[in-house]
Amino acid sequence: MDREGIIMRNLKVTARHKLQMLLFLFICLTGCTHAWKLSNIEPESYPEIDKLNMRVGLKLTAELLSAEYKWGGGVSDRFIIPLGEIMSMNAQRLAHSLFSSVTTIQDSSASSGEKVDVILTPRVVSVEASRPISGRQEAHTTIILEWTLKDMNGNLIWMKTFSERQSYPTRGEEFHGGNNTKNSLQSIISALFNNSFQAMSTSKEIRDYATSRNM
């Protein structure tokens, strides 16, 4: 084989290797998506109190119902844990524990026709998933939940934001169902709703409004 032939053969080999490299990179850069579920979505239980005499419309927005904890993607696998169901169940349990009458209102559903005095809206402001690349470090999770209570004219009666965060080890948990992450999320959500219940049940502003409505 002459020199030109060797060169041309090398060029063909190089082209084939480039194709293999691109294929390898494509495989490396594409991750799978894993949807995990929380093992326990039973809502919190609250102590019995004298319920506030108000007809509350609990507004469950599409944003709340689609809340999720997610991380990864791009070059690595993507993990998603839906939070909408546990959030909405907890919001309903909390509202029923606090107020004498609760009507659930969803964005997608038409008005039920029930008369309400106020609209209570929970909003997931942010779900932060800070995951370390190295297993030596801890993951941080922060969920910020905001509540607004408005009268039927849209005037704010009460508003409060609750923030809960936890740090926990994640070494190898992708291979074991993400138990640390799930436990941490459940613990955060539990704390968020307990703090919300505590704040709403002792709120001077909500009690004053309920009293003024019933005078």
Binding site: I7, V13, E128, P132, S134, R136, M159, K160, S163
Partner: protein, 229 residues
């Protein structure tokens, strides 16, 4: 033409050789090398909490009907490094500490969407009267508060960006109802555009709702700051 092909092929030969070595030793080395490339050696430092002073210690404050609000814009790069682990100014983010003390006899509501940043003289902003109806945040030129999670930190690794956002979230100001005697504080973040940086006169606009009278009270706290190169 032949000469060009010849020179090109010589350049490819070492690549071919390297590929043959990798092939000989299996894909393991390649995967390890690729993992190292993708990983960052960034280790998150433990950052100190910001030491918030009693409201009387702040010079830039206003008091209306017993509600006292103070601000402290963070303009020093060193402070950003110390408390957020990154100079947020390089990402065009201006951070302002807000300290609130409700010394009135009414409850007030402070909402993040009623906090904004303006530039220029307050007197030029017609919306900034004390009994305005429309939120100033929607006024032309007003810069709304930004959530840390929405900020793109493209100049740093994903791990570092996560850590910076985490620190910003933990120090963030949250919407709140303050009963008489209640206090609160936190940082708000404003994402500035290049055209905003020409200004040297700024003000933070905060509207507080009195829950008893259902009236909004506006606070406009001015400060001077020029972006330094």
């Amino acid at each position: 033409m032949r000469e060009i092909i010849f020179n090109k092929s010589l350049n490819y030969l070492p690549v071919t050789k390297a590929w043959l070595i990798i092939k000989t030793h299996g894909l393991l080395y390649m995967i390890i090398a690729f993992s190292i490339l993708l990983s960052s050696c960034y280790i998150a430092p433990r950052l100190p909490e910001y030491n918030v002073q009693p409201i009387d210690n702040y010079t830039n404050k206003q008091s209306k009907n017993g509600l006292v609000i103070a601000i402290r814009p963070m303009t020093e790069n060193d402070e950003y490094e110390k408390y957020f682990g990154e100079n947020l100014r390089s990402s065009n983010i201006l951070t302002v500490l807000i300290v609130i003390d409700n010394q009135s006899s009414s409850s007030v509501i402070l909402s993040n969407d009623r906090i904004s940043l303006g530039h220029g003289n307050i007197s030029d902003i017609s919306n900034a009267d004390s009994n305005y109806k429309e939120p100033f945040s929607s006024a032309a030129g007003a810069i709304a508060v930004t959530s840390p999670l929405l900020l793109p930190f493209i100049s740093m690794s994903a791990a570092k960006a996560d850590e910076v956002k985490h620190n910003m979230l933990t120090k963030e100001f949250h919407s709140d109802t303050l009963s008489p005697g209640d206090k609160t504080h936190g940082f708000v973040y404003f994402k500035l555009k290049d055209k905003d940086l020409t200004s040297d006169k700024w003000f933070v606009h905060i509207a507080a709702l009195d829950t008893a009278t259902k009236t909004w009270t506006a606070f406009d706290l001015p400060f001077e700051w020029t972006e330094r190169e």
